[in-house]
């Protein structure tokens, strides 16, 4: 009983112990706060980096004649419907949609003015994505991106433009209705990303050119096919992924096929799962095997680019943020180690100061184990109280970080978090209870390890020495 009683009494009576507690408090609060913000960034990046990518993107490298389970022999190259049927027959797949993807050079007002632009990225490479609106809507976030609110502020050097969203999200590629007279045939309807629109000050209804190369069925450059066509901007989208919003240009798949004079008409199949996070590995494995057996794809793993998850497209960046988070955790754990050293130093001091008390306790019948536990308990209380308060403040801070940052910025007159850099309109944070528990546990364990040394020393004190005359 004396251990609990005395340890609490010593803790209360000796204010120096509070320094150790304060150290643990700061370390735990910082760890919880920073790791929550990093987790928030990671989650936010996962949301934004994904943009309009579907769960899976399947891009067969080459295809040949395929024998379906029912015995029919089909030309896989041209019959994407059979492949989609096969994918959609998987119970954990919600839907699949074909896409036709190609590349082009984007020329807004004719090549002449493009060359006059001083910006280095005056020539813009774009991805032409041909989609079937109905199938695409259920499979990727394409439809959402058409109606999403505008990004908070365009990055430095770019100006707002009057580009608007499409007239009808249900039928986004419908040609714009015009009241005025019109001399020429309208260009093919395209939907451009918001960042591209900002970059080039694009307007809805503006005509632009896209230059591309096409190939004939034999795979060689098709010199006769039209590779330069006029397009009309019918609206914009915001996928939230900056790069995608600058590079993607959506078209109706049939229109793109017509423009490219592509006989195949598709290049990828995108897939949406019921629960991507839960099932991704299993379904990928199963689908790949099935598609391989049917002859649509090579063997699983042979060519990783044939079957990718959306994360594969963003692997480097996601890994970088994850890595940054781990590094931050390690660095902040050093703060915890420093706090542990403080506890060690203060407890060592206390053991020296309390030699006489230790001798008295021994004379009164305390065992050396009891003395050790007494000092360990002092460390334990410091760790428990410090880390509990730290966790509470850290969690609260993480939840209110945006308001706190705004208040700090307005009070001290400088911007701490530049919302333009990440195009986030708030500081993201995500409190993960298990992470918090791990931090608290780590703080308690490391403090106890540091407290163990002085506690052990206390238990080895010779009571006769300790009681020697003052």
């Amino acid at each position: 009983m004396f251990r609990t009683f005395l340890s609490l009494r010593y803790l209360r009576a000796r204010k120096t112990n509070w320094i150790g507690m304060a150290g643990i408090f700061v370390a735990v609060a910082a760890l919880v706060l920073i790791l929550s913000i990093m987790a928030g960034f990671l989650a936010e990046h996962r949301r934004t980096l994904r943009g309009n990518l579907a769960d899976f993107v399947i891009q067969p490298r080459y295809t040949q004649s395929v024998r379906l389970p029912n015995g029919d022999l089909i030309d896989a190259d041209h019959d994407v419907g059979a492949m989609i049927d096969l994918i959609e027959s998987h119970p954990k797949v919600v839907s699949a949609a074909p896409q036709l993807q190609w590349y082009g050079l984007f020329v807004p007002d004719g090549a002449k003015s493009a060359m006059e632009r001083p910006m280095q990225d005056a020539i813009q490479l774009v991805e032409l994505i041909g989609v079937d609106v109905e199938a695409e809507t259920g499979t990727s976030d394409f439809a959402e991106s058409l109606t999403r609110e505008y990004s908070p502020k365009p990055p430095d050097g770019r100006i707002y433009s009057s580009v608007e969203r499409v007239d009808d999200a249900e039928d986004p590629f419908a040609p714009l209705e015009r009241s005025g007279r019109r001399t020429s045939r309208p260009g093919r309807p395209i939907i451009v990303g918001e960042q591209l629109a900002y970059l080039w000050s694009l307007r809805k209804g503006q005509e632009v050119s896209i230059i591309t190369a096409t190939f004939d069925d034999g795979g060689s450059l098709n010199e006769d096919a039209p590779a330069n066509s006029r397009f009309e901007i019918v609206g914009s989208f915001r996928s939230k992924d900056n790069e995608m919003d600058q590079r993607r240009v959506y078209m109706d798949r049939a229109e793109l096929r017509d423009f490219l004079q592509d006989s195949r008409g598709w290049s990828a199949v995108i897939v949406k799962l019921e629960d991507y996070e839960r099932d991704k590995l299993q379904v990928r494995e199963e689908l790949w095997t099935q598609l391989n057996e049917a002859g649509f794809l090579g063997a699983p793993g042979d060519n990783p680019n044939e079957f990718r998850t959306w994360e594969d497209f963003r692997a480097t960046l996601l890994a970088a943020i994850e890595n940054e988070k781990s590094l931050m955790g390690i660095m902040l754990s050093l703060v915890l180690v420093v706090a542990g050293f403080t506890v060690f130093a203060l407890l060592s001091m206390m053991v020296t100061e309390k030699r006489r008390d230790i001798g008295i306790l021994t004379a009164l019948g305390a065992t050396s184990w009891g003395v050790m536990v007494l000092f360990l308990l002092i460390g334990l209380w410091e760790a428990v109280i410090g880390s509990a308060l730290g966790a509470a403040v850290g969690v609260l801070g993480a939840m209110k970080i945006d308001a706190i940052e705004r208040w700090l910025s307005s009070t001290f007159g400088f911007q701490i978090f530049n919302r333009d850099i990440y195009l986030f309109d708030h500081i993201p944070s995500e409190v993960m209870p298990i992470e918090v528990a791990k931090i608290v546990l780590g703080a308690v364990v490391s403090t106890l390890i540091f407290a163990a040394i002085p506690a052990w020393r206390a238990s080895r004190l010779d009571p006769v020495d300790a009681l020697r005359h003052e």
């Binding site: 009983m1 004396f2 609990t4 009683f5 005395l6 009494r9 010593y10 009576a13 000796r14 006489r356 008390d357 001798g359 008295i360 306790l361 021994t362 004379a363 009164l364 019948g365 305390a366 065992t367 050396s368 184990w369 009891g370 010779d462 009571p463 006769v464 009681l467 005359h469 003052e470």
Partner: protein, 266 residues
């Protein structure tokens, strides 16, 4: 450790002759505290310094025994060994017939806790605790949390009664720093008696007090001893104190040289 073995069987004939302190009956069940053949040496640099050369003594039930001697005679060393704080290099200490130094450290600690009460020259109270809390410290050490909480009132009542009887009724909540030397020593006496130990060891209990205060503290100590029929071992170099005891042992050069149960030297 070597001292746990019965190293000592017969007196070393090379030792100087000594007055046998008592029957020397080690392990006698009737004696609360006996020692036989206690030797204690310390390593000082390269040299080995023997402070006690084989001390036999017995504290009889209910008696007041004074241990006298010049400084450096080995009184404190002997006291630490008898109080189970210091392990003798050779010899045995029996507490109520139990060979204390052959026990496990935990058992020995319990023996110190329940069977021996200490009163030190410098009071040795814990500065962070109040007078009352200091007095119930032995019970806190003895009992685990739940048991102590159950019996806390009992011990507090007991300590409270003692402190009131010792004239500290208004000082119960005071810290040692707020108490005079005499008051602190009275708290220490209450602490020593809390668990009703059969043995009380007092090391110069009035040595740090002025004469008047010392008298009062001594009165309290002796009254309680008589009333409770506790065996008191009183270390002092004050003859007036020794005269209040029934028996006096004189120590010199690490040996007990005289026992007043033999005719007192005048």
């Amino acid at each position: 450790m070597s001292s746990e073995e019965p190293l000592f069987t017969t007196p070393d004939p090379s030792e100087p002759p000594r007055v046998p302190s008592t029957s020397g009956n080690a392990g006698g069940v009737s004696s609360p505290l006996t020692s036989s053949g206690i030797r204690r040496s310390f390593e000082v640099g390269e040299r080995r310094l023997e402070v006690l050369h084989g001390v036999d003594m017995e504290l009889r039930p209910g008696e007041r025994l004074a241990l006298m001697g010049t400084s450096g005679a080995g009184k404190t060393t002997l006291l630490n060994i008898l109080g189970l704080l210091d392990r003798p290099t050779e010899g045995k200490v029996h507490v109520e017939g139990v060979d204390a130094w052959s026990l496990s450290p935990a058992k020995r600690a319990e023996l110190r806790n329940r069977r021996i009460g200490f009163v030190f020259q410098f009071y040795h109270l814990l500065p962070e605790l109040t007078a009352l809390e200091n007095a119930i410290l032995p019970a806190m050490i003895l009992f685990k949390g739940s048991e102590f909480r159950r019996r806390r009132e009992e011990f507090e009542g007991k300590a409270h009664d003692m402190l009131v009887r010792f004239g500290l009724s208004t000082r119960l909540g005071h810290r040692p720093g707020q108490l005079s030397g005499g008051e602190q020593q009275r708290v220490a006496i209450a602490r020593a008696l809390l668990l009703d130990p059969p043995i009380l060891i007092a090391d110069e209990p009035t040595g740090n007090l002025d004469r008047g205060t010392g008298e009062k503290v001594l009165e309290i100590l002796l009254d309680e001893q008589k009333e409770r029929d506790v065996s008191l071992l009183l270390v002092t170099h004050d003859e007036r104190l020794a005269k209040r005891c029934e028996r006096v042992l004189f120590m010199e050069d690490g040996l007990i040289q005289a026992d007043s149960s033999a005719p007192m030297p005048t």
